[in-house]
Amino acid sequence: MSGKKILIIDDDQPLLLGLSARLKANGYGVVSAMDGISAIAVARKEAPDLIILDLGLPAGDGFLVLERMKGLADLGSIPVIVLSARDPAGNEKRVLDAGAVAFFQKPPDNHEFLAAIRQALGETIALSTFLKT
C-alpha cells in the first residue's frame, strides 16, 4: 500500500466507480473531477501524485486541461496518464508532446494500465516492456 493519491478526471460516472475500485484495491487513494473547470481546482486542493485524464470533457477539452496544468508551477510536475476513447492515431503523439507520460485507449488492459501507473509514480523500474511505445 503506497498510499499515493490519484486524481481521475472523467465525466463518466460508472467509469469513475469501476476504475476507483480497481485503484483502491491496489492501494491508492482516489479523488475525482468530472469536468475541465473543476479539474484544476480539485488538483490544486488535493495535490495528487498522479492524474488520469479523459480527453472528451464538458467545459474544457482534455487537451486544454493538460496544457493548462503543464503550464502551472504547482501542477506541472504531476505525471498525467491520458485514458480516452479516442483513436490513438494522432491523439497519442499530441498528448505525449503536451507532456502526458502515457496514452491508453479505452478500455485499457488492467495489467498494462496499472504497470504504467506504477512506473509514472516511480514505484517500479524497467517496466518499459509494458509501455506502449
Binding site: 463518466d12 460508472p14 467509469l15 466507480l17 469501476g18 476504475l19 475500485a21 480497481r22 484495491a25 472528451g56 476513447a85 479516442r86 483513436d87 503523439k93 485507449q105 479505452k106 478500455p107 485499457p108 488492467n110 511505445t133
Partner: protein, 730 residues
C-alpha cells in the same frame, strides 16, 4: 474462215475462230488495283471515249485499219474510227447481225473474240466469213474485265472473189459493188496484224494505266478537299498539324475558336505558345512530342493558354505522322476544352469526399461512444472477477469470465469498425519497412500466450532458420497474426495446439509464408470460400460459437493484399485449420532498381552515404529519429537518390543509409546539404551527426540487371560492415 494458228477453219466455216496472240501481262499497277471497287462510274471514266478517241484514231490511220472501243460484253462504244469500206458496206446493208463482236462479218454464231481476249488476257485474232481479219485486245483492270479494243476489218491477202460473192448473197449486198470496194483495199499481212495487236495491247494497257492514275489523283484531290472542309467544319475541336520540330503547319477553325490565333499568325510558330510558362519551363511541349514520337501517340490533360492569355483545361491527343521507321513527318493534334467537365468532376469528387468524411466521422463517433460504456463494463467485470468485492463461487466466476470474453469481443469489433471505414476510404495505410519476421512472431506469441494459457492451449512456433527480412508494416503484421491466433484460440478446444510457422514460400517466389495452424473444429469447404469476405459469418452448428462482426479476416485480407501478399486457409472439418499468408521478402535490389535506371547508372558511379546520428547525451528518442528521417528525405533527389529503410534490428536505429547515383564529388554536395539541414533542425545541438561515404564504380558493359545485382550486393556488405563497425566501437 481459218484460224491463223490452227488452220482448222474449213470444217467450221461459219464459226469465227479465235486464238490468243498475246499472253497475259505481268503484275503492275493495274494488277494491284484488284482490291479496288470497280464502280460503274469508274468504269465509264476509264472508257471515256473523248480520252480514247485520239489514240484510237491515230492508230487506225497509221495502220490503215478500223478500230473501236467496246465494253466488256463486246458492244462498240461510240463510233468505229477509220471504218473500212467492205465492213461499212456490209454493215449498212445488214444492221441486224448479232451480238458478240460487231467487227465480224458472219451469219453463223457470233464471234467471241472480245470474250476470249478478256478471258485469256491477251490479243485474239479472228478471220471472218469474208476472210477479213481483226484483232480483239483486252482492257483489264487488274484481273477484272473492263472492255476491249477491236482493230482490223482488213484482208490479209488479196480478196477472194468466191467468198465475196457468197457474202454478197447472204447479206444482200450487190456482188459487183462489194468486189469493187474490196479490190481497192490493200491487204495487211497476218504478221503485221499480229504485231499491231501486240502494239495495241501495250498501248491500251499503258493508256489505261495512265488514265487510271489520273482518275485516282483527281479523286484524291477531291477527298483532300472534302477532308479539308470536314476539318474546317469542326469547330468544337481544335485540329492542327505540326512539323517534327513542333511548328504549326495547319490550323482549323476549331483551333482558331478555341485558342484565339488565326491561321495566318500561327502557321510557322512553335505550338509551345499554347502552354503555360511553368510547363514551358518544364519542357512539356518537347516531352509530349517525344512521347508521341516514341509510342505513336500521346494523351494529356492540362492547362493550355489562349492568345488572350486565358487558361482552359484541355484534353489533348497528339498523333505522330509516321511513315515507316525513322523520324516523324510531323504531328497531328486534336484538342478539346474540357474545363466544364473538369469543374463537374471536381464538384463530384468534393461531394464524394464529403460523404466519405461524414461516414468516417460517424463511425469514429460511434466507436468512441461505444468505448465509454464498454470501459465501465470492463472495469466492473474485472473488479468482481478478480475478487475485489469478495470471493466468487465457481459458477459466478465462470459466468463473469464469459462476460469478460464478450467485452473483449466487443472491443475488437469496435476497432474493426474503424478499420473497415479506413478500407472504404482508402485510409487503411500500410507503411512497410525492413522487418524481421522471427522477431515479430516472438513478440506476438508472448502477447497471445496469456489468452491461450487461459484455455490450456499450447501456443508454439516453428520458424525456419536464417529467414530473410520482410518488407512489411510490423504493426499491421501484428494485427493480422493476432487476429489469426485469436481466431485459432476461439475455435480450438482445451488442450489443443496452435502453431505459428514461418518459411520461404515455395509457390510465391520472393515471398515469406507465415501460417497459423490449430487443432480446432475446422472449416467446411463452402465456408472456406466466403470466410475472407466482408461481413461473412459462418452459420453452421459446428461453428456456431464463431462471433464478431466477421470483419477480422476481411481486414486481414485487405492488409495482406496491401502488402502485395495473399491469404488463404486449408482445413479439415474436425481436425483443424491452417491460415497462411505471404509477405514480400525485403530486397535491396528491388528497392534500388527504382533509382538504378540506365541514365542514372550511366553516370558511372554510385555512392553509399551513411549518416550516423548519436545524441550528445543518452540515446536519441524514437520520434526525433523519425524527424531526422524526414529531414534527410528532403536532402536527396527523388528519382536519383534513395534513403534506405532502417537496416538494423538495434532500436533505436541510429544510422541512415542513402544510396546516391553520383560520384564522390556529388555525394560531398549531398553531405554538406544534410549537414546544414540537420543543424537547422537541431538548433539546440543535442545530436552529433557523422556523415561518411563510399563510392562504388558501375562496371560498364554489363547488363543493367548485372549492374544492379553487383551494386546491391556491395551495398549490403557495406551496410553490414558499417553497422558491425559501430557495434565494435561501442
Amino acid at each position: 474462215m481459218t484460224s491463223e494458228a490452227t488452220g482448222q477453219a474449213e470444217a467450221t466455216e461459219h464459226l469465227p475462230t479465235a486464238v490468243p496472240i498475246l499472253s497475259p501481262r505481268g503484275s503492275d499497277r493495274l494488277e494491284e488495283s484488284d482490291g479496288m471497287e470497280l464502280s460503274p462510274k469508274l468504269q465509264a471514266d476509264l472508257l471515256n471515249l473523248d480520252a480514247w478517241g485520239e489514240i484510237l484514231t491515230t492508230y487506225g490511220r497509221t495502220m490503215g485499219v478500223g478500230v473501236a472501243l467496246t465494253d466488256s460484253a463486246g458492244q462498240v462504244l461510240g463510233d468505229c474510227h477509220n471504218a473500212q469500206p467492205v465492213w461499212s458496206l456490209v454493215h449498212d446493208a445488214r444492221r441486224d447481225w448479232g451480238g458478240g463482236c460487231p467487227f465480224c462479218i458472219t451469219t453463223g454464231p457470233p464471234c467471241t473474240a472480245v470474250a476470249d481476249a478478256l478471258q485469256t488476257g491477251g490479243s485474239v485474232m479472228v478471220h471472218d466469213q469474208a476472210a477479213l481479219t481483226h484483232v480483239a485486245v483486252p482492257l483489264l483492270l487488274g484481273r477484272r474485265p473492263l472492255g476491249a479494243i477491236i482493230a482490223g476489218q482488213v484482208f490479209d491477202r488479196y480478196p477472194e472473189p468466191l467468198l465475196l460473192r457468197r457474202v454478197a448473197r447472204e447479206f444482200g449486198v450487190p456482188a459487183q459493188q462489194l468486189w469493187n470496194v474490196a479490190r481497192k483495199q490493200h491487204p495487211v499481212s497476218s504478221a503485221t496484224l499480229h504485231a499491231s495487236g501486240e502494239l495495241l495491247c501495250a498501248l491500251g494497257h499503258a493508256f489505261l494505266q495512265q488514265r487510271y492514275g489520273a482518275i485516282l489523283e483527281t479523286k484524291l484531290a477531291e477527298t483532300n478537299g472534302r477532308f479539308r472542309l470536314l476539318v474546317d467544319g469542326v469547330t468544337d475541336h481544335a485540329l492542327f498539324t505540326m512539323d517534327p520540330s513542333g511548328r504549326v503547319t495547319s490550323w482549323n477553325r476549331g483551333a482558331e475558336r478555341l485558342l484565339g490565333y488565326v491561321e495566318a499568325e500561327i502557321i510557322g510558330r512553335n505550338f509551345s505558345c499554347i502552354f503555360t510558362p511553368e510547363e514551358i519551363q518544364d519542357r512539356q511541349p518537347e516531352k509530349q512530342l517525344h512521347k508521341a514520337w516514341q509510342s505513336g501517340r500521346a494523351e494529356d490533360e492540362g492547362w493550355r493558354v489562349t492568345k488572350s492569355q486565358k487558361q482552359f483545361w484541355a484534353n489533348v491527343n497528339i498523333t505522330a505522322l509516321l511513315e515507316g521507321p525513322g523520324p516523324a513527318r510531323g504531328f497531328a493534334i486534336i484538342m478539346q476544352d474540357v474545363s466544364e467537365r473538369r469543374k463537374i468532376a471536381i464538384v463530384l469528387e468534393a461531394a464524394r469526399q464529403d460523404r466519405t468524411r461524414l461516414q468516417e466521422n460517424f463511425l469514429s463517433h460511434v466507436s468512441h461512444e461505444l468505448r465509454t460504456p464498454l470501459t465501465a463494463i470492463y472495469f466492473f467485470t474485472t473488479n468482481v472477477l478478480d475478487g475485489l468485492l469478495g470471493d466468487l463461487n465457481p459458477e459466478q466466476h465462470e459466468h463473469l469470465t464469459f462476460s469478460l470474453d464478450n467485452v473483449k469481443q466487443l472491443k475488437d469489433m469496435v476497432s474493426d469498425l474503424l478499420d473497415i471505414t479506413r478500407v472504404d476510404t482508402h485510409k487503411l495505410v500500410v507503411e512497410p519497412q525492413h522487418a524481421s519476421s522471427g522477431k515479430l512472431v516472438a513478440e506476438i506469441l508472448s502477447t497471445c500466450r496469456t489468452n491461450a494459457a487461459a484455455k490450456n492451449i499450447s501456443l508454439g512456433s516453428d520458424l525456419a532458420p536464417d529467414l530473410p527480412y520482410v518488407w512489411a508494416d510490423p504493426a499491421r503484421v501484428r494485427q493480422i497474426l493476432i487476429n489469426l491466433i485469436d481466431n485459432g484460440i476461439k475455435f480450438t478446444p482445451e488442450n489443443g495446439t496452435i502453431t505459428v510457422t514461418s518459411r520461404l514460400s515455395a509457390e510465391d517466389h520472393g515471398f515469406l509464408c507465415l501460417s497459423v495452424s490449430d487443432t480446432g473444429c475446422g472449416i467446411s469447404p463452402e465456408n472456406r470460400e466466403i470466410i475472407f469476405d466482408r461481413l461473412s459469418q459462418v452459420k453452421s452448428s459446428a461453428e456456431a460459437s464463431r462471433s464478431g462482426l466477421g470483419l477480422g479476416l476481411f481486414i486481414a485480407k485487405e492488409l495482406v493484399s496491401r502488402h502485395g501478399g495473399r491469404i488463404w486457409v486449408e482445413s479439415e472439418l474436425g481436425h483443424g485449420s491452417r491460415f497462411s499468408f505471404t509477405l514480400p521478402v525485403f530486397s535491396l535490389a528491388k528497392l534500388c532498381a527504382y533509382v538504378f535506371t540506365a541514365p542514372n547508372l550511366g553516370a558511372g558511379s554510385v555512392t553509399l552515404i551513411a549518416v550516423d546520428v548519436a545524441a550528445v547525451e543518452g540515446a536519441v528518442q524514437a520520434d526525433i529519429l523519425l524527424e531526422v528521417r524526414r529531414v534527410l528525405e528532403r536532402c536527396i533527389h527523388a528519382g536519383q537518390d534513395l534513403l534506405l529503410p532502417s537496416m538494423s534490428d538495434a532500436e533505436p536505429v541510429e544510422t541512415f543509409f542513402i544510396v546516391a547515383c553520383t560520384d564522390a564529388r556529388g555525394s560531398a554536395v549531398i553531405a554538406s546539404r544534410i549537414d546544414r539541414a540537420l543543424q537547422d533542425f537541431d538548433r539546440a545541438s543535442r545530436l552529433k551527426p557523422v556523415i561518411s561515404s563510399t563510392t562504388l564504380p558501375v562496371v560498364p558493359g554489363q547488363s543493367r540487371e548485372e549492374q544492379i545485382g553487383e551494386l546491391t550486393a556491395r551495398i549490403e556488405q557495406l551496410v553490414q560492415a558499417h553497422l558491425l563497425g559501430k557495434e565494435t566501437l561501442k
